[in-house]
Structures are given as C-alpha cells and as structure tokens.
Symmetry: C2
Subunit: 191 residues, 2 copies
Amino acid sequence: MMIRDLIIKNRTYRRFKQYVAVDRETLRELVDLGRLSASAANMQPLKYVLSCEPARNAVIFRHVGWAGYLRDWPGPAEGERPSAYIIILGDTEISEFTDCDHGIAAQSILLGAAERGLAGCMIGTVRRKELSAALEMPPRYKILLVLALGEPAESVALETVGPDGSIEYWRDAEDVHHVPKRPLDEVILEI
Amino acid sequence: MMIRDLIIKNRTYRRFKQYVAVDRETLRELVDLGRLSASAANMQPLKYVLSCEPARNAVIFRHVGWAGYLRDWPGPAEGERPSAYIIILGDTEISEFTDCDHGIAAQSILLGAAERGLAGCMIGTVRRKELSAALEMPPRYKILLVLALGEPAESVALETVGPDGSIEYWRDAEDVHHVPKRPLDEVILEI
C-alpha cells in the first residue's frame, strides 16, 4: 500500500467493535513504531502506558472527551467503545520539553493501526490530573495524548471544506461521519 | 512496503545530493499528505511554505541549526545541503494552539518523502524572527518546524542505546551516522 492510501485510510474513528479485543502484543508493536520515529534532539522523552483490559479501559474512558462538534453525542455508547488505549506520556526526568514528539509518534502508531485494519482517535481532551491519579501514575510523567484504538464500527467520509468555510465534522442522517479538510491551495502559502 | 519498514527507512538525514533537484509538484504532493492527516479539533491551522529554488534554499539554510551533538560539524557543506524545504507554519488567525499538529503532519510528509527515495530532517532549531523577516512572512504566521529535504548522501545506522545510556547520535570513522534509540521495554511503562 502506498503511504498516501494509508494516510487516507487512517481517519479518526470514535466508534468501535468494543468486544473485539486488541491484544497487548499488538499494542507493543504499535508503540515500537513510535519508538522508531524521530524525536527532537533524539531525547526520546516519550513513555507509553498500554491498556487492553476492560477494567482499565473503563477507567480511561471516564476521563477523556469525545467529538466536541457533535454537541448531542456524549461519546461512544457501551458496546462501541475502544477496546484498547495507548497513553502517551512525557517523562519530565528526561526532558520538560517534548515539542511535537507525541504528534510524530502518534501518527506512526495510528498508521500502523490502520495497516492492521484497526482504527483510532488521538484524544487531547483528557482530565489529566484525575486520570493520572486513577492510574497511580508517578508525578514525573505528564499525559500528552490518549490514543483510543479498536476495530472501526462507523463510516468516515473525507471531504473538502465547503463554501461556508466550516471545518466542523458532522454526521448525516445515515450516521456517516463527514470531515471537511481545507484544500491544498489554501494551505500552501505563496510568499 | 509495510509501514514499519518505511518508518525504519525514514531516518533523519542531514547530508544530501544538493544538485539533484526536488520539484515543486513533489513538494505539493508531500504537503497534501500533511493536509490529509489528523488535526486537533480538525482546526487545520497549519500552513506550508515551499522552497526548491537555490536562492530561497540558501536563505532558509542560513537560519537553521544542525545536529547539536556533532560539536565539530557546523552542518552540511556546499554540495551536500538540502535541495528543498517545507516550512510548517501555524496560522494564528485560525488558532493560537497547534498542539502537536505539526508533528503529525511532519511525520506524514517525511514518510512520503522516504517512500519516494528522498530523505529529510525535521529542524526545530530555527532563528524564527530572522527567517520570517527574510521571507517577508506576515506576522500572523509562526514558524513551527522547518523540514529539509533532498536525496540522501549519507549512511544512517539505527541502534539501541548502549550501557552508557547516551542518546546522542554520533559519527564513526567511516562517516556513518549512528542513532541510539531506547529499547521498547524501557519506553513502555508498566503501571
């Protein structure tokens, strides 16, 4: 598969086949893709917490936010929640500064997931203090991103931003999730 | 090619075949991979400036820093400099907050470059004010990352961090660039 096809396949999914497990070895292989990716000054301050057990998944689920633009949708219902998570942490004893390392790693991980037929969501809306406490996380680690993972159970359509200029994703009557992307000529700055 | 192979192939390169051009259409295709990648709240605040002309390349080159750990190496010499750049900007009129969007986009772009036999370097050491002024960049844009691109002209060896624990990359007597990565069991936190 060409990387472009994989990047297009790798949409953000928020509804999953919750009872189709993702095993720990798969999560380790995905983290390895992050590990092998670029890191500012090669410091590698990222650490990863894995979750593929229903009890831990439930704890994580309680502390993350879903799909801000879907105002009538509180997030995936029981049965369509993620079957695994990878929490990306910054190890402040290595570096206080992670710049965009977590973005680089998250993209590698989600491309690996897409290649395996899995899907995910990079979640930045996290009740960090509460989740750290719930997982008894030592204070040296700060939560950067939570990656939700599972087998996808929704359809996502990639589109170009329309004449109204809105970038808000939305769901149609058939429950398809639409994502408007700015056109290429708008994001390339001619200076 | 499996994504893991492409991620491994996608090492940071700092020496290039400077006189092998990278054309503007290739840069546009690479930016498109960033455009199609995830963005926090789908805001898509990133903008991109392209450079594949020697004069503009020279301006950009003057304002970026290279390989902090190679203390005796001031950066690529004439003839081994990048033949193109993509500057990733945050458009503050869209959002003041880009979180790790530039990391996500940069990884997509560099994976696309690696697939094409190109290589690159994500550069965070940038004299931002001076480069913005040199390119007459409107003040609404802030420079997040500079991606250097070209055909690679060096060998890079991926390794595991040794007993001394050093993560500093180094060059051996044969001029091979070695990059120590932390082992998988060290980056997965067992909590």
